[in-house]
Symmetry: C2
Subunit: 258 residues, 2 copies
């Protein structure tokens, strides 16, 4: 894992599955796979009999900085050699085949890969050549199949994209990012007291205008304004901006009426 | 949606979000995005000021048959025009920016997009140019940000792969494939009676050999064999194969002993 010449400084936690590209055809695709692996924090790349030999400069060009993964990639003559040190082998398999094996979704496989890693077991995932996919002999080395539940009318998935889906699911299997949050880098979400302070000021300024002159409608209109500003999380910085806007508009109004 | 010359026969259910590529640079990437969209069943492609003009033959070459999406792609001069008919706009945003907006994961966004579609609302997702991503003005058109919780040390995601992650999550948001199943195309899972039948036959054949001769160990060894064959789901076809294997081995043994 040393001796790389450049690229991103990537940390390998060492528990991710090996990605085994079986007879890959295009070096660009191998590079794009390395990039996809880096995206998901997956670092062990193994190549079985790449068609055009190895190493190939083109791969480093499409890796977008994931050089370390390509530098450390290992070459094997057969699938059996490539997975010899692994306890579990998954095979990606887009088309139905007459094979009887457990089939997992990518998400199901990621959960199982995490469970295997937690037990200290080493796993590999096989990806077939660009056009044909894994052949029947390749599949005999796998104990588990992985099928992505994508659009059944259009299953043609680019090699790097197939790798990305697994790397993405591997990464997300332990991710704890809440599905929804509010991005507040330099500001914080305003307290209800701060919001109330602004609303009171707004209503006070509007009291000077004809906007709230209709006594019958007044309460409803104030309520509508309140609901509008309660709808999303407002930040303290935005409230200051709104204070300024209302104050300035009111000043302009006074000047115009003078 | 008519008038395409070739490519896959894709059915558009019409409820998926529009994919808006803002100032995309490379036609190959636009084609690869169309392919990724087809993978996830997302069909409405909109291009804002593609750098090298439109249409470009290169895009159709990398679309792998997703021609219909490219044929129907619409061109706009500005983000505002591209999203004018949409009620909700999501923006993919890999790097932290000083913007205060709700932030969703890709999975969270997919769930929200499905909920919006169920209400009959039209959504769009903005993807920025390859190198720079969306700029600050582009972001003002979005009400919600989407960030993929990927490897924070390596966030450089290819445009088509960014589109694939959203298309994949869109597709999976309603997918009901069980995370684990057994692929049995031509065979069916054997019943316990069938398994018992095989095990009884195996034990009977082994009774003729020295394998079960040790009376003390016999019960434990038979139990181990039972556990072994109970471990995974065995199919009816596999059981027939096993019957044949045991029978043939036993015949060979008899011949050898003659």
């Amino acid at each position: 894992m040393t001796g790389r010449d450049g690229g991103a400084d990537l940390t390998d936690p060492g528990d991710a599955p090996a990605i085994v590209l079986v007879r890959p055809q295009l070096a660009d695709n191998i590079g794009a796979c390395a990039r996809a692996m880096a995206n998901g924090g997956v670092f062990d790349l193994r190549l079985v009999a790449p068609r055009d030999g190895w190493p190939q400069e083109k791969a480093w060009r499409t890796a977008s900085g994931a050089d370390r993964i390509l530098d450390a990639a290992r070459i094997f003559n057969s699938v059996a050699d490539a997975v010899a040190d692994c306890q579990r082998v998954f095979a990606t398999c887009p088309r139905p085949r007459h094979i009887v094996k457990p089939v997992l979704t990518a998400r199901g496989a990621a959960a199982e890969l995490r469970a295997l890693a937690a037990r200290g077991l080493r796993s590999a995932i096989l990806f077939g050549p660009e056009r044909a996919g894994l052949d029947n002999d390749d599949m005999t080395h796998a104990d588990t199949l992985v099928r992505y539940p994508l659009n059944s009318e259009f299953l043609s998935l680019n090699l790097a994209q197939a790798v990305l889906v697994m790397a993405y699911e591997w990464c997300l299997a332990t991710d704890e990012t809440p599905p929804r949050s509010l991005m507040t880098h330099e500001s914080r979400v305003a307290s209800k007291a701060e919001l109330e302070n602004f609303l009171a000021m707004l209503v006070a300024r509007l009291n000077d205008t004809r906007f709230l002159a209709n006594a019958q409608k007044r309460a409803g209109m104030v309520r509508n304004l309140r609901h509008l500003f309660q709808r999303g999380e407002v930040t303290e910085q935005e409230l200051r901006t709104l204070h300024g806007v209302v104050t300035e508009l009111a000043i302009g109004r006074e000047n115009a009426e003078r």
